[in-house]
C-alpha cells in the first residue's frame, strides 16, 4: 500500500489528524513548487500564447494552495490566529514582529484569548 512520503516518525504513533495535515502540507508544498516552476517557464518561453497558458496554470496552483491553507486554518487555532494577526496589512512585517505588540504571535487582534477550534487536539 502506498504511503504518503515524508513521515519523520513511525506511522503507528501518528494520529489520523496528523496524517491528514501531512497530506495537506505535502500538497501545499507541491502547489508552491509548481508555481515556482511555472514562473521560470513563463520567463523562459519564447511564444506569447504559451507564456499566457503557463501564467494561467501558475495562478491556478496559487488557488489550490490557498484552498488547502484555508482547510488547515479551520483546523488549527494557532495558524488561524497568526494569519489574522499578520495578513492583509500594509505596515512593516518585521517591525510588527519586533514590537511584539498587537497582532504579534499569541495576541489575537480581536483581544480574545485565541481559543478557536480545539478539534483533533486531545483525547483522554
Amino acid at each position: 500500500m502506498a504511503n504518503s512520503a515524508g513521515y519523520h516518525e513511525s506511522e503507528d504513533v501518528l494520529r489520523r489528524e496528523t496524517k491528514d495535515n501531512h497530506r495537506a502540507l505535502t500538497s501545499m508544498m507541491e502547489e508552491l513548487e509548481a508555481a515556482d516552476w511555472y514562473d521560470q517557464r513563463v520567463d523562459a518561453a519564447t511564444d506569447d500564447a504559451l507564456r499566457e497558458i503557463l501564467a494561467h496554470n501558475r495562478d491556478e496552483e496559487k488557488e489550490h494552495f490557498v484552498m488547502l491553507l484555508e482547510w488547515l486554518r479551520r483546523r488549527d487555532a494557532k495558524l488561524d490566529a497568526e494569519l489574522r494577526a499578520r495578513l492583509f496589512r500594509s505596515d512593516s512585517i518585521v517591525a510588527r514582529e519586533a514590537a511584539g505588540g498587537e497582532g504579534a504571535a499569541g495576541a489575537p487582534k480581536d483581544g480574545s484569548l485565541g481559543i478557536g477550534s480545539l478539534k483533533g487536539r486531545s483525547s483522554l
Binding site: R74, I115, L118
Partner: protein, 272 residues
C-alpha cells in the same frame, strides 16, 4: 478602544498576561464541544447571525401585487460571566508571585465553558439553539452503572450511525458520571474498560462535564457547526480600592446540520 475596556483596568501587563494564560489553560481543558464539532470563526464582534439560506413568509404584503419574505437567520448569543479578583493578588504578580489567588477566574472559565457546551450538547432554547441530543432522530441508548456493559452500548451507537449512513471517525463525549466510572472500571482480568471503549470508536474520547450521560458522534466534519463571533475574551467592568471586576465573554451559536450524526447515551435515573 474595544468593548472589553481592558486599558481602563488597574492591571499591569504582567498581570493581564497571567490572567489570560490561566483562563486559556482552564478553558482548553473544560471546553468539550470545540474538540468535537466544526468551529466557524471567529467571525468578529460585528457578526450578528448565521445565514440559514431560507425565507420566512410575511403575511402582510407591502403593496398590492408585491409579496415579501424575511431572510431566516440564527442570531448569535452573547454569553458573559463576571468575576472579581483581589488587587493585592494582581499586584503580587508584578512582584514575581508565582501562585496568585485566581480561583474566581478559574470558576468563571468553567462556568462559560459549561454554558457553551450545554448549549451545544443539550440546547439553549431561549437563545434559539437546539442541542445535538434533542435534534438526533435516533432513540437514546440506555446506560447503567454496570460499566462492563458500556462497550456494548457504545458499539450499538456506532452501529446506529453506520446504518444511518453516517461515516466515522466516531468520537465519544463522556459526561461526569460516565467519566468517573470508566476511569476506574476494569473487565474480567483487570483490563480497563476505557481501553475497550477506545477501540470501539476511532476518534477521540473527550471529557465533557456538561454532557448528561454520553454522546457518540461522527467527527468526519460538516455535521455540527459552532459559529463564533467574538471568541472567548476577558474584559474589564469596574474596580474598587480592594478588587477588580472583570468578565469573560463570547458570542456564539450552534446548529446541527446533520442531526443524524449523533446518538445519545443516557442514564434513565436522575444522575448525569
Amino acid at each position: 478602544m474595544s468593548l472589553l475596556h481592558r486599558e481602563l483596568a488597574p492591571i499591569t501587563s504582567a498581570a493581564w498576561r497571567t490572567i489570560d494564560d490561566e483562563a486559556r489553560a482552564v478553558l482548553k481543558v473544560c471546553l468539550a464541544a470545540r474538540k468535537l464539532v466544526d468551529v466557524r470563526g471567529p467571525l468578529g464582534l460585528e457578526a450578528a447571525s448565521v445565514n440559514l439560506g431560507r425565507l420566512e413568509g410575511i403575511e402582510a404584503a407591502p403593496l398590492h401585487g408585491v409579496s415579501a419574505a424575511r431572510r431566516a437567520v440564527l442570531p448569535l448569543v452573547e454569553l458573559r460571566t463576571e468575576f472579581e479578583l483581589e488587587r493585592a493578588e494582581l499586584d503580587a504578580i508584578e512582584r514575581g508571585c508565582a501562585d496568585p489567588e485566581l480561583s474566581p477566574l478559574h470558576d468563571a472559565a468553567k462556568r462559560i465553558a459549561r454554558a457553551e457546551d450545554t448549549a451545544v450538547f443539550h440546547g439553549y432554547g431561549a437563545g434559539g439553539i437546539a442541542g445535538i441530543d434533542r435534534r438526533s432522530p435516533h432513540e437514546a441508548i440506555a446506560l447503567s452503572d454496570d460499566f462492563e456493559l458500556y462497550p456494548r452500548a457504545v458499539a450499538s451507537a456506532t452501529r446506529v450511525l453506520r446504518e444511518a449512513g453516517v461515516d466515522g471517525p466516531y468520537a465519544i463525549a463522556l459526561g461526569p458520571r460516565c467519566y468517573a466510572g470508566l476511569m476506574q472500571a476494569t473487565a474480567h482480568g483487570g483490563y480497563p474498560i476505557l481501553e475497550i471503549v477506545r477501540r470501539a470508536v476511532d476518534g477521540p474520547l473527550v471529557w465533557a462535564p456538561a454532557v448528561n450521560g454520553a454522546l457518540v458522534l461522527s467527527v468526519r466534519g460538516g455535521d455540527f457547526e459552532l459559529s463564533i463571533g467574538q471568541d472567548l475574551s476577558i474584559g474589564y467592568r469596574s474596580h474598587s480600592e480592594r478588587s477588580v471586576r472583570l468578565f469573560l465573554t463570547e458570542s456564539m451559536t450552534f446548529r446541527a446540520l446533520a442531526p443524524e450524526a449523533a446518538v445519545a447515551l443516557v442514564y434513565r435515573d436522575a444522575g448525569t
